[in-house]
């Protein structure tokens, strides 16, 4: 799957996107977020400490229980501030 990061998360994580395999046992957005924080706390603790994390799956806003498959693009970003 492809992960994308925007705004302050992109800066914190040092990249805008990366490829990874869908981890075994991860089937939803909330499970993916928990897996990221558990497996790479040195990178993701700061992301989750910086307020509510919004997610999109394949360019559509996602919820905690949105299902995932290995060919999905999952984006993590902070609340939007355009306009």
């Amino acid at each position: 799957m492809q992960l994308k990061y925007f705004a302050r998360y992109r800066e914190m994580l040092g990249c805008g996107e990366e490829q990874m395999e869908l981890p075994t046992g991860v089937t939803t957005v909330s499970e993916l977020l928990a897996w990221l924080q558990q497996s790479q706390p040195e990178r993701f603790d700061q992301v989750f400490a910086a307020g509510s994390v919004l997610t999109a799956v394949n360019e559509e806003m996602a919820k905690a229980d949105t299902p995932l498959s290995d060919n999905d693009t999952v984006a993590l970003f902070p609340p939007v501030t355009g306009g």
Partner: protein, 141 residues
């Protein structure tokens, strides 16, 4: 963006569209004179879809002759245009309301992020609760 209003007017149906309402947002200094520019980031692909959905929702809600939405990205100095929304309709009330609706939803739903570039540093802009409240009033009625 300079020609957006004229472009939308050219799409008006003579005799049918009696109102053209436009809104232009300018980069404002929230940092007490220290703001130099805003850096606007977006999510290419998803941002366009999000704006299209907001426009479609407005077209469903009101009888409109057309909608134009433009949002700039990248580095925008203080005072420059950041966003444009124009709406054509038979009557002004629908055009004003739809323009307001588009802007309220753009601010809360479309994936854009602002970073303030100030003389004393740079900082990402925090989301405002008032923006959520402005959007939610459209759902309450």
């Amino acid at each position: 963006m300079e020609d957006a209003s004229a472009e939308l007017k050219s799409r008006a149906v003579p005799g049918a569209d009696g109102a053209l309402v436009t809104f232009t947002g300018l980069v404002r200094d929230n940092a007490a004179g220290n703001l130099q520019s805003l850096e606007l980031e977006h999510y290419p692909g998803m941002t366009e879809k999000s704006l299209q959905r907001i426009a479609n929702d407005a077209l469903t809600r009101w009888t409109l002759g057309g909608i134009s939405i433009i949002h700039r990205v990248g580095s925008l100095p203080v005072g420059s245009r950041i966003v444009f929304c124009g709406v054509l309709s038979a009557h002004r009330q629908a055009a004003f309301d739809a323009c307001n609706y588009v802007m309220d939803h753009l601010k809360t739903d479309a994936p854009f992020w602002k970073k303030e570039i100030r003389s004393d540093g740079a900082e990402w802009v925090e989301k405002r609760v008032a923006d959520d409240q402005a959007r939610d009033r459209w759902e309450a009625g």
